[in-house]
Point group: C2
Chain length 342, copies 2
Amino acid sequence: MSQKEITIYDIAEKLKISAATVSRALQNHPAVNAKTKKRIVDLASELGYQSNKFASNLRKQKTHTIGVIVPRLNSAFMSTVLSGIEKVANNAGYNLIISQSFETQEKEAKNAQTMFNNRVDALIISLAYDTKDYKHLNSFIKKNIPIIFFDRVADEIDATKVLIDNFKAGYQATEHLIHQGCKEILHITGNLIRNVYNDRLNGYKKALDDNGIKYDQKLVISNDLSEKAIEDCLKNDVLKRQKLPDGLFITSDPSAAYALTILKEAGVKVPEDMAIIGFNNDLISRVCEPAISTINYPGNQMGETIASILINHLNGESDINYMNTVILKTDLIVRNSSLKKE
Amino acid sequence: MSQKEITIYDIAEKLKISAATVSRALQNHPAVNAKTKKRIVDLASELGYQSNKFASNLRKQKTHTIGVIVPRLNSAFMSTVLSGIEKVANNAGYNLIISQSFETQEKEAKNAQTMFNNRVDALIISLAYDTKDYKHLNSFIKKNIPIIFFDRVADEIDATKVLIDNFKAGYQATEHLIHQGCKEILHITGNLIRNVYNDRLNGYKKALDDNGIKYDQKLVISNDLSEKAIEDCLKNDVLKRQKLPDGLFITSDPSAAYALTILKEAGVKVPEDMAIIGFNNDLISRVCEPAISTINYPGNQMGETIASILINHLNGESDINYMNTVILKTDLIVRNSSLKKE
DNA sequence: TTGTAGGCGTTATCAC
DNA sequence: GTGATAACGCCTACAA
């Protein structure tokens, strides 16, 4: 099958020196004669020598690998975050092992286990919809392997978290609709176990309250935000109601865009009949007609922030334990889907 | 810092047996007494034993890790493919190391090097825009490590490729516009070094030719398909031309959607003044107004196919060398952006 | 069924 | 500045 590997011993032998010296030369260890070093490096590249990370990791007890567990890979937001993480991590010489929980705790736990067995130097995680306890992270905590949560975080665990102020964002979005004259604002959101959705809901409630609008439970719909779920709740519920809500705050842009097409199909005028605001500021929200108002959520920057913090910590340049929570800035972006007034 | 690891030796010692037996028990080796095995497994989980993959990999010369290099993580298409790959690979017990080339050969080569040093069992790659030679893949080829190309493939290398029939798709898209009455079809596409764009262009040319339309080089624009590039070529070139093209075939849906908004802003009526067809069938093409016609390109299925082929090969259940090219099916999806006739 | 022993490729610690 | 040597944790002939 595969050819035999070239090792430092092969190089040592050909050069009649010891493997130790070869190893040192290849790592730029200062205590090695410049000439011997050159001979070693030259021969190594001539032979196509490739250091074996496993042996090295085994010996050094460090892997230069970071594990990442996300609910799903295929969302615009997630891939932007990952892109940011990868960029910074890669530049710092770290590898990324990425896996998906598919929104279940079971898979999340299994993946965490694998990451652990692979001795990742750190774990970056955004929780699945249905993760309720955190046993699967215990091995990391015990061994003092840093964990960073992002977006969907666990308040119960004392680890660094990178996220946005979901309460404030929810408040802003709702307040904006109210300022535009909405009195009955439908809120379609994800699983309320997760901080992101729960905090946004609380922001929504507070905004209503501050503006003298009574909270109505019927106006809050929680589902998995899939196209199917959106279609289902609109067609089989909302659109059949006697009185249509005059505003919609829906916590993801793809969902908002999809809802918009369904509403338009059903003859609902946006924003006149119903004003809409989404979440994330994906490209999709800009190209709809009308363009959808949203909350700008800087995924790329979030990814880069996560990776920077982590790598500074791993390199011993800062201690992650002093940085418990990083809140990134969000902005309200107003477009035509919510503009009832001038 | 970190606690000391629990190894098979710790377990062996406590149980007064040999590490070899522990090792065997933990791998479900048949030749081990059921009772001893139970004692071992129980103690292992009690102690929170975690096998050290490095030692194991080093010993077994197999990593159960697959390297993936993609141009960029943050596109709907790419994340769908990755999601498919991850799903299948993970279920088969393989890890994924993922990195981005950011469309440069330099970074691609560097990442390939890292993957190699990490002794990935296989490499999955979609080429960067500007990759012109394949030296950086030589070490894989020499060592007989399987490489699978997808989407943006290298014809020059004898490796398995998973892709669509870009020529046919380009032909179909163009033909459709012609059937709708377009006579001057603008084609905005990516770097023509890459098969995906070059093949689509050839399909475009052939469709023109078959329908008696003369190929006009001014109607083909090749850039990096970024928002900036799209905006630039439309505003500073196309929209300033004396005669506007009456059709647009643009090889990605996000670009198509973005182009649509720019054209609408400029007062161009779609499809009346200009019919548009995109590529990929991302959600974004459905939510625009008018909805954008496109070529359905099954990313998820592509990812799953890639991973299945690879894993069957790695498990020795089939030989990848007999499967040189896999072509996935695409479909023309007609929506309002290109419907000039009923 | 279990134990012994050697080695996977690298690096760190001593000596010299 | 260089070399010997002993780990790192696991796996697998081979022997018992």
